[in-house]
Symmetry: C2
Subunit: 247 residues, 2 copies
């Protein structure tokens, strides 16, 4: 499995992804699922992937035209006029790659090789944007009503984001929120694993404002993980008590 | 979907289930998923069901021998010598009912009609016990290491139980914990819905110590739901702040 979250705030975008891939519980690897391209002063585009690893790696490789010699490569994302166009191109590529693998495998291919992608970024002169691209190639965009997208193992970490998110929050608070959401998920599901990749994109700054890989011995993540348990317990005990009397 | 939790504590058992069943989002009904049989001074047995409603209703009806005239009925659960035997009988019945429906529908029946059941209770002279019965008819028993079982839409409400559970907690605190877990699930997933059924079984008391149906206007559930949002926010803000500096 996988867990990735992309969040849009007034100040920009905050993105976090895990790195675990597994094919069964006895075949576990670490693969980066967050990929960034940027052109100073012009654009920054980050994608996060969930689903079949061969499919998502094929998307990234084809975006970068790795079939060509290095000096002949031409990344279509760096020339797209808008983020909408970026999401469209990624959707086309994703749909084509999945369909090829499925068709090549006949009946056995049905419903396999699927993947989803979160696309985040900003192009100069336009707003920061956040999209979720489906395996069918279509996509949706984040809005004031739905300002974050999750892909992969989304359920354990969702309640805290629903309660804690605020569009006006600081980037630091957004990072803290994602750390808590990932901690809850890691505690409940083996298919999501450390290290985590974190990226902060500030509005109108066309390079990552902050990037960090959270490993097992990361002091901040460890302090969140241990103090969240205590904080939750205090929160829980602060709630009104239930009483059996009078029922 | 469904959400049911059974929890074993030093003082007894606490059980909660929702009542929503849906076949698509446009066909929603309320059905009780918690069923209790008890004999004063001798035994109390409660089951909670998730999965195909026709299958789980068939299990309950056959347990009560509703095919027979009322005065000829004989509930096998009331004569089983141990809770282990109760779980075995329910497992047999569940497996048989699912297999019948599947076989009757040939290829179209594969993987359908499945259901899971939580079985909780105590028989005089023995400990309170908690089991989870799978569609295949086999089952597992709760232990000190895994002292609660969830069935249905289990993920949203799991992190808070993992953090909040304590075997020595009071029954009232256990009810509070389940209220929070259900609130998180209800907020995230339409397929779990009010009203909720709550039952508390105290050790060596062979009738429900407390039963309650939580409806939309339940003042306690409403106060938990609203104060949990605030309590979570305070808990969140009590955590150490993240800093971009020095990375």
């Amino acid at each position: 499995m996988t867990y990735c979250v992309g969040m849009i705030l007034d100040r920009g975008l905050v993105l976090m992804s895990d790195t675990r891939t597994n094919s069964g519980v006895d075949n576990i690897s670490v693969f980066r699922k967050m990929f960034t391209w940027n052109v100073q002063g012009d654009r920054i585009i980050t994608v996060m992937t969930a689903g079949n690893l061969a499919s998502t790696q094929a998307v990234i490789s084809q975006l970068e035209e790795r079939t060509k010699a290095p000096d002949e490569r031409d990344n279509i994302l760096l020339k797209s006029p808008t983020m909408f166009q970026v999401a469209t191109e990624i959707g086309k590529l994703l749909r084509t790659i999945i369909a090829e693998r499925q068709n090549a495998n006949g009946d056995r291919g049905k419903g396999r090789f699927t993947a989803s992608i979160i696309v985040a970024g900003q192009i100069a002169g336009m707003e920061p944007r956040l999209f979720m691209v489906y395996p069918e190639g279509n996509f949706i965009e984040a809005s004031h009503d739905t300002p974050f997208f999750q892909i992969g193992e989304t359920k354990y970490g969702r309640p805290i984001i629903i309660r804690g998110y605020d569009r006006t929050m600081s980037m630091e608070d957004a990072v803290k929120l994602l750390m808590v959401s990932f901690d809850s998920t890691l505690k409940a599901n083996l298919s999501v694993g450390l290290p985590l990749d974190l990226q902060v994109i500030e509005r109108d700054v066309f390079e990552p404002a902050h990037e960090h890989r959270v490993t097992h011995d990361d002091p901040y993540f460890r302090s969140i993980s241990s103090s969240w348990g205590d904080a939750l317990k205090s929160a829980f005990h602060s709630l009104p008590d239930y009483s059996f009397v009078g029922e």
